[in-house]
């Protein structure tokens, strides 16, 4: 008979609970797993440079806070922060900024939205850490594999490490319908090119796709799926290719929703890195809607 399996995380939780002597109260004092310690483990595991001027690092809250749980997301929106607080996961790992821009708080110190968001974080004892460059640089490239997994396409990858997948034959329209369903999209998806195109080879490119990538790789596949592009660059290019008679398409699903699945993989990774606390994925979701 198989021995009852107690995962490392469960064991650690049990041990933690016993040591703390009460239900869900986190460890206090020297043994507590702080946000700083989680950051240290991430930095050690991922390696590379973590320049203070780069995007990665603490954005809000006290790094010395004992961690009750970790939430990962593509973007720490108010919606995500509310869910994190409700779930008792007080360390939020976000791929995109928290305060409306690369600079975090781009000159909005007395802005009511900024103030209310910051107060919410403080009142609920949340800590927000941005993990972008070093997560993206990780050799596993889980931003891409995460998106593939969410779409149910993991097994169709053509070459390990690459972003091209050969999926069962479909049309661009049907592929878009599937993407919409699998990613729970609302109004953010926009497609360009041949909606009737026969689709086998797809490229997954979460986040932003530059024109250099577009020019180099667009004609390798039937359908390119990315987060966002500049419209006067790649949208224009995809439309022109269609006019030129090539039956392929470009699907932009939204930058943030394209990055959400990769952060689900990040939560899985954190379970091994910080087994003392639960880690869960809280997707930011599709923030757009369409007029009726």
């Amino acid at each position: 008979m198989k021995k009852k399996d107690v995962s490392r995380r469960q064991f650690a939780l049990l041990a933690g609970t016993m040591a703390a002597g009460a239900g869900r109260i986190p460890l206090q004092g020297a043994d507590a797993l702080t946000a700083q310690e989680v950051a240290h483990r991430m930095q050690t595991s991922l390696g590379g440079e973590w320049p203070a001027s780069g995007p990665d690092g603490f954005k809000a809250g006290d790094p010395n806070t004992p961690v009750t749980g970790i939430a990962t997301t593509a973007m720490a929106t108010m919606g995500v922060l509310k869910q994190a607080a409700m779930a008792g996961t007080n360390l939020v790992i976000t791929y995109e900024p928290t305060f409306f821009g690369r600079q975090e708080n781009p000159g909005v110190a007395d802005d009511p939205v900024y103030k209310a968001k910051k107060q919410f974080i403080e009142k609920n004892g949340l800590v927000v850490f941005r993990l972008r460059d070093r997560w993206q640089a990780r050799k596993e490239n889980d931003m891409t594999t995460g998106l593939a997994e969410q779409l149910g396409w993991s097994k169709y990858r053509v070459r390990p490490g690459d972003s091209i997948y050969e999926i069962p034959a479909t049309t661009a329209e049907d592929a878009v319908a599937l993407i919409r369903k699998k990613l729970s999209l609302r109004g953010g998806l926009r497609a360009v090119g041949d909606r009737k195109a026969r689709v086998r080879r797809v490229m997954l490119h979460p986040g932003t796709m530059t024109s250099a990538v577009m020019w180099q790789r667009y004609s390798e596949t039937d359908l390119t799926i990315t987060g966002e592009v500049r419209e006067w660059e790649n949208t224009h290019y995809a439309a022109d290719i269609f006019t030129a008679g090539e039956g392929r398409g470009l699907v932009t699903i939204g930058r943030v929703v394209s990055e959400d699945p990769g952060m689900r993989m990040c939560a899985e990774w954190l379970k091994t890195l910080a087994p003392e606390v639960p880690s869960r994925w809280i997707p930011a979701g599709d923030l757009y809607w369409r007029a009726v």
């Binding site: 690369r102 109004g187 926009r190 022109d240 923030l287 007029a291």
Partner: protein, 260 residues
């Protein structure tokens, strides 16, 4: 009349100092000294609009945006690209001339791109609008109703909205193209063309989504680049007709490229 002469007339009539340093407002393709048989104004030199312009007998394109899928119309990485070759061949074979008017349009008073964009979404009073965005007040409505009006008036299939559709709004701040303004305390709705969704100078999408989560009445309408700057190119055609009468001048719209 040559392409060069057309540009010279625009220069004389533009009403602002000519910017010789602009890398945007230059000839992009074709022979500037070719004879112009007709002029097409458009927001974007798509291959599709080039074909329609040619069929209409218009061989000079005056476009607000780029031809070769990048702002500088840099072509050094495209010389062996089949699409680049096809598009270039089409233009040269048909003796077409492409000239871009971007920077000068945004310097002009009024800026036709803003005037046209405001008119296209049903906001009144923007006939003298310039690039620097200001707030326009409309009769109070909900964000959802206003978005429905935008859809009806523009005919756009693919524009995107953020915020609570039930939010009461009346103060509109619009910047077309890539000049989507940042939300301010004085505005309820920001209308833009496009903007990087996150990690930019100011991320309106996250800001407006958060404001909505906090119960504040804020909305964002992203029209798309073509939809937002296209209407002004019709105004440009009208303006050009006031000082160029030798050849026909037509507005030849670029299609909204998206399906959803």
């Amino acid at each position: 009349m040559t392409g060069r002469e057309v540009v010279e007339l625009i220069r004389k009539n533009v009403g602002v100092p000519w910017n010789e340093q602009s890398y945007r407002d230059t000839f992009k393709l074709g022979n500037p000294d070719s004879t112009v048989r007709g002029i097409a104004t458009t927001v974007m030199v798509t291959f599709d609009m080039l074909k329609r312009a040619h069929q209409a007998g218009l061989n000079m394109i005056v476009s607000h945006e780029d031809t070769f899928w990048n702002d500088r119309d840099e072509t050094k990485d495209l010389t062996s690209n089949p699409l680049y070759k096809m598009k270039t061949d089409y233009v040269l074979k048909n003796d077409m001339i492409i000239w871009r008017i971007h920077d000068h349009m945004h310097a002009m008073r009024p800026d036709f791109t803003v005037v046209g964009s405001l008119r296209s979404v049903g906001v009144k009073g923007g006939e003298d609008a310039v690039m620097r965005a200001r707030v326009y007040t409309i009769p109070e409505t909900t964000l959802g109703e206003f978005a429905s009006q935008v859809k009806r008036l523009t005919g756009s299939r693919a524009f995107r909205c953020v915020g609570d559709p039930r939010a009461k709004v009346s103060r509109i701040l619009l910047g077309p193209g890539y000049a989507t303004p940042r939300m301010t305390a004085e505005a309820d709705v920001v209308i833009g063309g496009e903007q990087q969704e996150a990690d930019g100078a100011f991320d309106d999408v996250e800001y407006v989504a958060d404001a909505a989560s906090l119960g504040m009445a804020k909305g964002l309408i992203m029209l798309g680049h073509v939809v937002s700057e296209q209407p002004g190119m019709e105004d440009l055609a009208k303006w050009m007709r006031t000082f160029i009468r030798e050849v026909p001048i037509q507005f030849v719209p670029a299609e909204e490229p998206f399906w959803t």
